[in-house]
Structure formats: structure tokens, C-alpha cells
């Protein structure tokens, strides 16, 4: 009897109680990667990150949109969108189609969890866009700066939101030389550089100094709104290097006890001279680089040294038929660059190095035995 009364209750208790949990909305927020940095028109790689949280632990799908605005009027279409946690603006736009400069960036972020619940409200971040600063790239002529030799210094100035090449409103640029601070031994004069247009200002100077050291040449560019960029270029000016005979044929004599047999007509050639300013072979069409000077001399059999003044090139031929077998002939070449430093080793020295580097020779000697 008792069992019968409990039956309905038992029936109820053996069923499943299920309460469908309520899916909660995720939350999202926008963080600026570099909160302290101003963002300007034309900036590249401006990063934002999203922080998303879902109380249920669901994944949150993100959707970024970036709008450019002039005053309160934002463009109808975003200029960039994204779905990653990080939102990297490739380039901040400058102005709308009507030519109105953007002054605000509106970043919108929406989040939606796996069950379709969206974050409310969606996040909107308005960022003031500042004036873009000038951008400067500097370089010098692609050769080692040497004392006393003019070297070209070039700068390319651009400004994302201001014209730089206007003839009527010249862009404000100023050159200065800031080091070595104790030396004023330099000149910095204008040089003509082609290539300036509305968005690219190409300017240059010719820098010359007689003082060894690392010079810093600075360029300051200021845009019409006063935004300023300073860029410098280090110019390590070195003393002129001595030329070095780098390659030659045939083998030269380095040991006083040896000679080179001359069995056939032979061209004695200096193939390569390394030098900072006057190499051989020369560099074509370079306004500054020159070429090596060769000074040849010969000691004929039983004779004394004669300068071969008619020879100014890199080679001299000898013919054994001009001599008798067993004759000893000494052919010598000495090299100089534009500074004409005398190769003043003793005449008996087969080689001569005026450089701290003994392998850098300015003299070669071929002691030839006619065979």
C-alpha cells in the first residue's frame, strides 16, 4: 500500500531535470599598441589589439573596421578591416576624395561568440590624427670619403600630408654639420639634384673636408604646420689610402737571388691596383675617381736604370730577341695615386711598401734573364 502512494513521486524523480543555460554575451575592448604615440596621417603599421572575454569560455570572433573622418563626417566605407586579435593599419589615409584632410580615425571592433551572441555595445575608438612629420632619407656617394675629395650628400624629403616640391611654397630644410665639434675645416655647398616633384624633394650638398674623422651632417626639415624631423648622416672621412698592386703577370721577383727566364716575347702587366680614389682599371664615368699612375723603368744589361717616360700605361713588353742569352734585364713599375707620394725605398729593393700593411706594395720588379 505504501509503495503505491510513492509511485507517482518516484515516477517524477526518475525523469531528468534540465535547465538550458543562458549564453552570455562576450565583451571586447580595443587597446592601442603604443598608447603614448601620436598617430598621424600617412603613418604606417599602426597597431591595435583586441582583448576579448566570454563568460562562457567560448571563442570570440572579432571584426575590425577602420574609418577615416573629417570632423564628424566619416567615410561610409571602412578603409581597412580585419579579424585577427591584432589589427595593423597598413597606412593611415591622408584625405578624402574631395581633398579634405582627415583628422580623426575611427576604429570599430565587434565581437561574436561561437553561439552568435555579440558584444554590446561594439567598441569604437576615435583617434585624433595629427600632422605627419617630414620623412628624410640620406645617403652619400658610394665611395669611401677621403680628405680633400668632395663627396656628394643626398637627401630625399617626403611628407605624407604636405607637398614638398612646390615651387611657390618651398619646403623648409636646413643643413648643418655638427661634428667633429672643434673643427670648422669643411665646406658644404649646394649641388644640383634632379628628381624633385610634388611629393619628393631631392636635395644635395657637396661636402669637402681636410680633417680626418667622423663627421655628422644633419638635415632638418620642417613642414608648414611646424612639424619637424631631423636626420643625420655619419661621414667617416679617412686619409687617402696608398695604392696597392693587387694583381700582375708574369710572376714578379721578390727574392734577390732569383730571376725570371725570358724565353718568348712577354707582356709584363699590372692587372689590378686597389686604391680608394685611383684604382686600376679605372671606374668609368665617375666624376671623382681617377686612375693609377704607372712609372716604368728598366735596367738594360750592364747598364743603369732608365725611366721609360713614354710609357704611362699598365704594361710593357720585352722581347728576348732584343737581348743576348744570359742577359739580365730589370724591369720595374712603381705606382702612385693623385697625391704622388714618392716611392722612395732604396733602389735595390725589389718591392716597396710605404704602407703599414707590408703586403700593399707600390713597387714591383721583374728581374729577367734572357734565355
Amino acid at each position: 500500500m505504501r509503495v503505491n502512494r510513492l509511485w507517482p513521486l518516484a515516477t517524477v524523480l526518475t525523469g531528468c531535470f534540465y535547465t538550458d543555460p543562458i549564453n552570455q554575451r562576450p565583451s571586447v575592448s580595443i587597446h592601442v599598441a603604443d598608447p603614448g604615440a601620436a598617430i598621424a596621417r600617412g603613418d604606417h603599421d599602426v597597431k591595435f589589439t583586441a582583448v576579448a572575454d566570454d563568460p562562457d569560455g567560448d571563442s570570440v570572433a572579432l571584426r575590425w573596421r577602420a574609418y577615416a573622418c573629417n570632423g564628424t563626417a566619416c567615410d561610409a566605407m571602412e578603409f581597412q578591416s580585419g579579424t585577427d586579435t591584432t589589427f595593423d593599419l597598413i597606412e593611415v589615409p591622408l584625405a578624402n576624395a574631395a581633398g579634405n584632410t582627415y583628422d580623426t580615425l575611427e576604429i570599430r571592433l565587434e565581437g561574436q561568440d561561437a553561439l552568435g551572441a555579440t558584444a554590446k555595445p561594439s567598441q569604437v575608438l576615435d583617434v585624433h590624427l595629427g600632422d605627419a612629420p617630414p620623412q628624410i632619407m640620406m645617403r652619400s656617394d658610394p665611395r669611401p670619403p677621403v680628405v680633400g675629395v668632395p663627396i656628394g650628400i643626398y637627401a630625399l624629403v617626403t611628407d605624407p600630408d604636405d607637398p614638398v616640391g612646390s615651387a611657390t611654397h618651398p619646403y623648409d630644410v636646413a643643413w648643418s654639420v655638427t661634428s667633429p665639434p672643434t673643427s670648422q675645416d669643411y665646406t658644404l655647398v649646394d649641388r644640383t639634384v634632379a628628381g624633385t616633384d610634388e611629393t619628393h624633394l631631392q636635395i644635395g650638398k657637396t661636402f669637402t673636408t681636410h680633417t680626418v674623422g667622423t663627421w655628422t651632417i644633419e638635415l632638418t626639415a620642417t613642414d608648414p604646420l611646424g612639424m619637424q624631423t631631423v636626420q643625420d648622416l655619419m661621414v667617416p672621412v679617412a686619409a687617402d689610402q696608398l695604392p696597392c698592386v693587387a694583381q700582375w703577370v708574369p710572376a714578379a721577383t721578390t727574392d734577390p737571388g732569383t730571376t725570371l727566364p725570358l724565353t718568348d716575347p712577354t707582356l709584363f702587366q699590372v692587372l689590378v691596383v686597389t686604391d680608394d680614389l685611383d684604382p686600376y682599371p679605372s671606374v668609368p664615368n665617375d666624376p671623382v675617381l681617377g686612375t693609377t699612375e704607372f712609372h716604368w723603368s728598366i735596367v738594360p744589361p750592364g747598364g743603369t736604370r732608365q725611366q721609360l717616360t713614354s710609357v704611362t700605361g699598365n704594361a710593357v713588353a720585352l722581347d728576348p730577341d732584343s737581348y743576348a742569352p744570359g742577359d739580365l734585364v730589370e724591369l720595374r713599375v712603381e705606382i702612385q695615386d693623385r697625391n704622388h707620394r714618392a716611392v722612395n725605398c732604396p733602389d735595390g729593393d725589389l718591392t716597396c711598401s710605404l704602407s703599414p700593411d707590408p703586403s700593399c706594395n707600390q713597387r714591383l720588379t721583374w728581374r729577367v734573364e734572357v734565355r
Binding site: Q247, T258, S322
Partner: protein
């Protein structure tokens, strides 16, 4: 005009190309960098001209399931040939003279799965120009190497070169112990190069057979030729006194000639130099075989008035070498001859009488082998303080006198001593010839361009020193040339604003007032050494004529050196070697 060149095999990325010294990349290696890859692209024709159809075949070692081709970056599925259903070959038309880059990616990719190559399409109207390119990298990287290149008229070309570093030989020249010697390495293919050692030496050699000439500094030791093979050596180069060979030298009267120098030579290997004694006998030492001709050269003492004798034959050096001067021509004494310039006697002028004698100047015999010897005159004497020559015997013949009034101040005068009549030698001052060097169009002068006058003819027999000048701002060069002398003129521009212009035989009067350089084409590219990752700076790049001999074979038409990035650019004549 379609080239009929053979198919060229373009090796792609073949670091192990041991048999290849220098690789003209456009006609040799290409594509990937070094890595042991032996895959190849085959272009047919190898040098296409505009209007051709080019077939490219990938020859890939290993298992391949497919090939993905691109021509100038665009996928190409124009597979070719009944044998190429596997997609290993494509074809494309080349209607214009431009370059095309062909690449293929093979599946599976593997280590060498990407090949690419640029091929230049030539102008159909142009002719082919052949040059030798000699590359001399820094000695610590690779030995000098040469290759032939074929250029198409009117077309600049990009021609990278990949140089094989070869192998390092650490050798020693010995005669009991290490000795000083001159060593010349002559590869089967490529330029010879040399070194002077005091015994031990180290050098790079190409991975190919070399003949190695060793000439000891000690004249009592005989020069010797060795064969060197990669991986086999030898590393030691022993020399000794060799085999003696002797004989006698008789003058034109049949009298023993003392102080004559005798030297033998076989295949470029000299003997020791022997000097005859008072009885005319000599003994020289050699390492020759009995199978190749031998050249005998006799240099008589200057006071004899005799010519130098040279004869080549299969001389039997086991027998005595009998050298006899012909009775004729007799000699003539130039004593008392005055050397003048503008009627003024020239003191201390050096007079070198030169010339080649007609007919037979003597005979050289060993046993039954006898050869007629040619005679060459090279006799020198200086005038006294009054400008008068001392006793100076010369053969009676039509000769030339090269007169050096002072260092570098030459004149050439005819000297006919056939009848031994009294002579007077006039040495006019050098003539200053001025030429204006201009670009190929003749519209611009070329400051910095250069002129070189290389002696030829009689002057060259006495002196090979050239006369050179660099053009000033007005393009003018001044050449001080010996009166009566002939020169080979070479106008060139180190700046590459034109290609060299040569005048093979000119006197001072023949120097052109305007020397227009030739139209140039540029060869440019990158020089690399296989296995060396850094740019090859300061490598000498010389363009040489393809078929010259003697000094001209090493006289560059144009030369340059690689820059710090390993790049070079050089201007050569559009119409080939002049």
C-alpha cells in the same frame, strides 16, 4: 640568319663541375647556387635569333613526376616533342631580340628542384663576334682561367662567370734539397701562369691536367717538363743536370768561334745556356726526348759581326752538334760612321743594327741530320763623344739601324751594307703626332681616352717599349714617335665610351688626325668563385682576341676589374677584334 650553333648544355648549379674551369654561366652553369646539383637545362638553339622557336628541355637526375614551367614569369604548358609527354620540355617563339628567363620547378622538388636561366635572343641581322675572356681572380681564390664567348653584333649582353677554385698544390722544386726555380703551369685548357720560388710553393691549379715547366735558377741544372694531374700530383719536382749535348761552332771562315752562346729548345722547354770555349766547343744540358723537333739557337759574340742562327730539325743529340756559319755574307765594319741629328754629331748614341738575312746563314747538323739556319742580325754599339761609331762589324746586307740618341729618343734608318760603302746615319728627332680621339659618332671628343703606339718592324727588333698618352680635355693625344719607325696604334677608352680602334701599321705621318673609337657593345655580369660565398672583388677581366699569337695574345682589347660586389662591365668592339 639563323645560327647553326650546336645545342648548348646549360649546367645548372653544378658545384662539382670539376672538368670545367671557368663557367660562362649563360653557356654553362646557371640557376641555383653551388650545391652539387647536376640538373641541366638544354636550349635549342643555344643562341637563338629573333624569329626562332626555342625548345627548352630539363634534364633532371632523379625521379620526377612533373615539371612546372614559366617563361618570363608566366606559366608555360606548351610541352614539346613526342618524347616529352612527361612535360620535361617546352617550346616558345622568340619574335624579338630580347632576353627571356625560363624556369622550371620539378616535382618532387628535392634539393635541386628549381632551375632557371636567362637566354639572350640575338638580332637576326648581326654577325657573331668571338672573344677570349681571361679572368684572373685574386690568387688565393682561384687560378686564372679563360673561356671563349660568342657575342652577337649590336647587342649588349649580360655574361656572368662562375670560376672553379680548382685545387691547391703545395709543391717543391728539388735537386737534393729545395732550390730556387721558375715554375710555369700550363693547363690543357686555359692560360698559363707562373711563379718564382725559392723551393717550396703553394698555388691554385685548375682541376685538369697541367704541364709544368721548371727552369732552375742554377744554369747547371736542366729545365724539365712535368705532367701534373689532379689528385695524382706530383708535388715534388726534382731537377738535375740532365743530359749533356755538345758540339762546335765555326765561323764563316771555318775557324772555331769562341764566346758564342748556344741554347736548345724543344716544345717550349729550353736547355741550359752554353758558351763556346776558345776551341769553339760547347756543352749544354737538356731533358729532351728523341721524338720531337729541336730548335738550336746560336748567339755569336757582338764583335764577330755574325748573325744569330736558328734552325729546327729532328736533331740527334747523342751526336755532336756541328754549327757552321755560311761564308757569305761577309762582314762590314761601320767604324767611322757618324751619327747625326740635324747635321750635329750625336755623342753616346746607341746604334742597334737589326734585320733578317735572306738565304741561308749557316748550317746546323747532328750526324746525318742537317738543317739550314736562318740568320738574324742584332748588333749594338755606341758612338763616341764625337758621334762616331767604333769598330762595329755587321753582315753585308740590307739592314736597319735603330738609333737611340737618348733614353726613349729613337730613330730608325735604313742601312744597306751590301757593298760596305761608307755610311752616314741620320737620326731625325721624333715626330710629335697629334690625334683627337672621338666617340664612334665623331660628335664628342673623349677626354681621358688613351693612345698606345707599339713598335713593330725594325724598331721592335731593338725595343718593344710603347709610346702612350692620355687625351686631355680637348680629346687630343700627343705621341712622340721615332722617325722612320712603324707602330701599331691602339686607341681606346678606359671609360668605355667606345670600343678600341686599332691601326695595325702606321708611321708618325700616318697617325690619324681624328681617331674615332669603334661602336661598342657592353659585356657585363658577375664573377663568382664556386663555393666562395662572398663577392669576388678585384678580379681582372680581360677581353682578348680569339686567335692572336705572341705578345698580342696577352694584349687585352679591353680590360676591367670586378668591383666590391663582384660585378664588371666592359666595352668591346661591336664588329669584333680589329
Amino acid at each position: 640568319m639563323k645560327s647553326s650553333l650546336a645545342i648548348a648544355v646549360l649546367l645548372v648549379g653544378c658545384a662539382g663541375g670539376a672538368d670545367h674551369a671557368i663557367s660562362d654561366v649563360d653557356a654553362g652553369h646557371g640557376g641555383e647556387d653551388a650545391g652539387g646539383c647536376q640538373n641541366v637545362l638544354i636550349f635549342d638553339p643555344a643562341v637563338p635569333v629573333a624569329g626562332d622557336h626555342v625548345k627548352v628541355t630539363a634534364q633532371v637526375f632523379g625521379f620526377v613526376t612533373d615539371y612546372a614551367w614559366r617563361v618570363d614569369g608566366v606559366a608555360n604548358t606548351n610541352y614539346e616533342g613526342t618524347d616529352h609527354n612527361d612535360h620535361s620540355a617546352i617550346g616558345f617563339d622568340v619574335p624579338t631580340a630580347v632576353s627571356h628567363t625560363v624556369s622550371v620547378d620539378v616535382t618532387p622538388p628535392g634539393a635541386c628542384g628549381h632551375l632557371d636561366q636567362t637566354i639572350d635572343v640575338m638580332n637576326p641581322g648581326g654577325t657573331l663576334v668571338m672573344y677570349r675572356v681571361r679572368l684572373t681572380p685574386p690568387a688565393e681564390l682561384a687560378p686564372p682561367q679563360e673561356t671563349l664567348i660568342q657575342l652577337h653584333q649590336g647587342q649588349n649582353i649580360d655574361r656572368p662567370f662562375s670560376v672553379d677554385p680548382g685545387t691547391v698544390l703545395s709543391g717543391t722544386v728539388t735537386s737534393g734539397s729545395a732550390i730556387s726555380a721558375y715554375v710555369k703551369f700550363m693547363p690543357v685548357l686555359g692560360p698559363a701562369f707562373d711563379l718564382v720560388t725559392t723551393g717550396a710553393f703553394t698555388t691554385h691549379l685548375q682541376l685538369q691536367a697541367h704541364t709544368v715547366l721548371v727552369i732552375p735558377q742554377d744554369n747547371t741544372l736542366a729545365p724539365r717538363l712535368f705532367t701534373w694531374m689532379p689528385g695524382m700530383g706530383p708535388n715534388a719536382f726534382p731537377v738535375d743536370a740532365g743530359t749533356p749535348a755538345g758540339g762546335t761552332v765555326l765561323d764563316r771562315s771555318g775557324v772555331a768561334l769562341a764566346n758564342a752562346q748556344v741554347q736548345l729548345e724543344q716544345l717550349g722547354v729550353p736547355s741550359t745556356i752554353a758558351t763556346t770555349g776558345v776551341n769553339g766547343t760547347f756543352t749544354t744540358h737538356h731533358t729532351f726526348d728523341a721524338t720531337d723537333p729541336i730548335t738550336v739557337t746560336v748567339t755569336p759574340p757582338p764583335s764577330s759581326g755574325l748573325p744569330r742562327l736558328t734552325a729546327t730539325a729532328m736533331f740527334d743529340l747523342t751526336k755532336s752538334i756541328q754549327i757552321s756559319y755560311a761564308a757569305s755574307p761577309a762582314t762590314c765594319d761601320l767604324a767611322g760612321t757618324t751619327v747625326t741629328r740635324a747635321s750635329a754629331p750625336q755623342a753616346n748614341a746607341l746604334v742597334t743594327v737589326v734585320g733578317a738575312l735572306a738565304g741561308t746563314a749557316g748550317t746546323i747538323a747532328t750526324g746525318t741530320v742537317s738543317a739550314k739556319a736562318a740568320g738574324a742580325v742584332h748588333i749594338a754599339a755606341a758612338t763616341n763623344g764625337s758621334g762616331v761609331l767604333p769598330n762595329m762589324l755587321v753582315p753585308r746586307a740590307s739592314l736597319s739601324a735603330v738609333i737611340s740618341v737618348a733614353a726613349g729618343d729613337f730613330a730608325v734608318a735604313s742601312l744597306d751594307t751590301s757593298t760596305c760603302a761608307a755610311q752616314a746615319l741620320d737620326a731625325p728627332p721624333p715626330t710629335v703626332a697629334i690625334a683627337q680621339i672621338e666617340d664612334p659618332m665623331g660628335t664628342n671628343v673623349l677626354p681621358g681616352a688613351r693612345a698606345e703606339a707599339m713598335p713593330i718592324g725594325a724598331l721592335a727588333l731593338a725595343n718593344l717599349v710603347p709610346v702612350e698618352a692620355t687625351a686631355g680635355a680637348n680629346g687630343h693625344v700627343s705621341l712622340s714617335l721615332a722617325a722612320g719607325a712603324h707602330y701599331a696604334l691602339h686607341f681606346f677608352d678606359p671609360g668605355g665610351r667606345g670600343a678600341p680602334h686599332d691601326y695595325p701599321d702606321e708611321t708618325a705621318a700616318g697617325v690619324p688626325g681624328e681617331a674615332l673609337l669603334n661602336k661598342a657593345i657592353a659585356i657585363s655580369g658577375q664573377v663568382t668563385v664556386i663555393g666562395f660565398p662572398n663577392p669576388v672583388a678585384n678580379a681582372s677581366v680581360q677581353i682578348l682576341c680569339s686567335a692572336c699569337t705572341g705578345v698580342a695574345a696577352s694584349q687585352p682589347i679591353a680590360e676591367t676589374a670586378t668591383d666590391s660586389t663582384g660585378a664588371y662591365r666592359i666595352a668591346v668592339p661591336d664588329s669584333g677584334p680589329m
